[in-house]
């Protein structure tokens, strides 16, 4: 078996059918758009494998023979579905079907059959409220989703370029260093608190606001090394989006919206992942960091949107957009993050724990796989379907 086949079969659970042939055209285009942005950097030969798996994550992996970007359509689907809920859902219960299904699948991914049962059961219960317009009902939203996927692609390509070109890597880390430099930011706390209060009213005292900002800066300092490359590649991905919008005639604000939303949506998935029953790893000395790091990345990248826009000569065009961005953040909170954090996850956790106490016949990965098979997944398959673009 080829190394990629072996790696995919061992690390993921796929479905009976392969990703569609149309996917090849779509992702081949995304890959070509990405490759065209690397001028002056040595780009290693990169294979792109499109999969659709229960595990729902994308990665670049170095295997014997070269690097492969494994892009999971199932993860890309979340970007699309969350955007759809955010833009079109009218009933506050509309997203629950999706959120609970994701909890079910993430439970399967950590070998928790009780969580899976509860998640699927709730997803079915909330199905009647899923009356959300398709993405295609608004062409601008179609582009917004496409650009989010593009952001993820471009970010991964950037990592690949860094691995093969020391100068490029150093330049990206320098950008990451700038984005994580919090020196002097305390002086802005007062002004930002006023702006916060003007928009949201008297919901937080000044002391609490400053304490929260101080804690954020401490976390950035703590995770700075890990953030250098990640933010360097997030910045790169944003520039890729700006350049694509310029070429394709899309409004430049869509690049910033997509970069913002991609990180917000993936952060929501991290919240869900951290909420599923924590079956402890054999020896796990660190965990739960993903959502925190994504939050920092999203805040820090957003913090330089103005500078990036200036660098791209877009200041005038985007003048009105910055207020819209806060509206977008509030909308995501209202339609996605708040329902997930304060509704879906607590409801799920309570039901899951009650079930786990009373039902002990479904244990561990074997029990999870039994439920996965009923959901159309193929955990026992010797090979994972994928398409190479």
């Amino acid at each position: 078996m080829k190394p990629l086949d072996r790696y995919l079969a061992a690390t993921r659970i796929g479905r009976e059918d392969a990703p569609s042939a149309l996917s090849v055209l779509h992702y081949r285009r995304l890959a070509r758009l990405c490759r065209g942005r690397f001028r002056g950097a040595t780009l290693r030969r990169l294979k792109v494998a499109i999969v659709y798996t229960l595990n729902r994550y994308s990665e670049i992996v170095a295997l014997p023979g070269g690097h492969t970007l494994i892009y999971d359509q199932h993860a890309g689907q979340v970007l699309s579905t969350f955007t759809r809920i955010m833009r079109f859902a009218e009933d506050p219960r509309a997203g629950e079907r999706v959120f609970m299904r994701i909890l079910a699948e993430e439970s399967l991914a950590v070998g928790d059959p009780h969580g899976a049962q509860i998640g699927y059961s709730f997803a079915e219960k909330f199905a009647p409220y899923w009356t959300v317009a398709p993405i295609a009902s608004d062409p601008e939203v179609v582009i917004e989703v496409l650009l989010q996927e593009m952001f993820v692609f471009a970010h991964e390509y950037c990592h690949l370029a860094m691995a093969g070109d020391a100068k490029f890597a150093e330049s990206r880390r320098r950008v990451g260093d700038l984005l994580t430099n919090t020196e002097g930011e305390e002086s802005r706390d007062k002004g930002e608190y006023k702006a916060f209060g003007d928009r949201y009213g008297d919901v937080e005292t000044y002391d609490a606001f400053v304490a929260s900002r101080r804690a954020q800066r401490a976390r950035i300092a703590q995770h700075r090394e890990a953030l250098l490359s990640e933010l360097g590649c997030d910045d790169f991905a944003l520039w890729v989006l700006i350049s694509i919008c310029g070429e394709e005639g899309y409004a430049p604000k869509l690049a910033f919206r997509a970069a913002f939303l991609a990180l917000r949506n993936i952060r929501t998935i991290s919240y869900i992942r951290e909420a599923v029953s924590p079956i402890k790893a054999i020896a796990d000395v660190g965990g739960g960091e993903a959502a925190l790091l994504l939050q920092i990345r999203q805040h820090r990248l957003r913090g330089v949107f103005g500078v990036v826009a200036q660098g791209a000569g877009l200041t005038e065009e985007l003048n009105a957009f910055w207020a819209e961005l806060q509206d977008l953040s509030d909308l995501h909170d209202q339609k996605i993050d708040n329902p997930v954090l304060f509704g879906t996850i607590p409801t799920f956790a309570e039901a899951r724990n009650t079930l786990a106490e009373s039902e002990t016949n479904l244990i561990g990965p074997a029990g999870a796989w039994e439920i996965a098979e009923r959901g159309g997944w193929r955990p026992h398959a010797a090979k994972l379907h994928h398409l190479v673009v």
Partner: protein
């Protein structure tokens, strides 16, 4: 044949040495980099055989004792065990599911 995925820190020389002693055909070493970031890890795909099970078991025992990062997964699903016996029993079952 059934395989297990061992995920450990990239600077974990002990894990690399232990796996380096196994038949080459039974171990596929990969360096993954996830979009969400997180730990810098190596991923070893190890075919489950009568030769590899005790080595995997010893690796797990040592990492529990030293509280070092190690995840054991099958098809991406984490295998958990508060005791070594549970994990070895699970691996043996994967090798011979009948």
């Amino acid at each position: 044949m059934a395989a297990v995925q061992l995920e450990f820190a990239r600077d974990d020389d002990d894990a690399k040495a232990a796996l380096g002693g196994l038949p080459k055909a039974d171990v596929l070493l990969a360096t993954p980099d996830h979009f969400e970031g997180g730990h810098e890890v190596l991923s070893a795909i190890v075919t489950i055989t009568t030769v590899t099970i005790p080595v995997i078991g010893a690796l797990i025992r040592e990492h529990i004792r030293a509280k070092r990062y190690l995840k054991v997964k099958v098809k991406g699903v984490e295998v958990a065990g508060s005791s070594l016996d549970e994990v070895e029993a699970f691996l043996a079952k994967l090798k011979d599911p009948g």
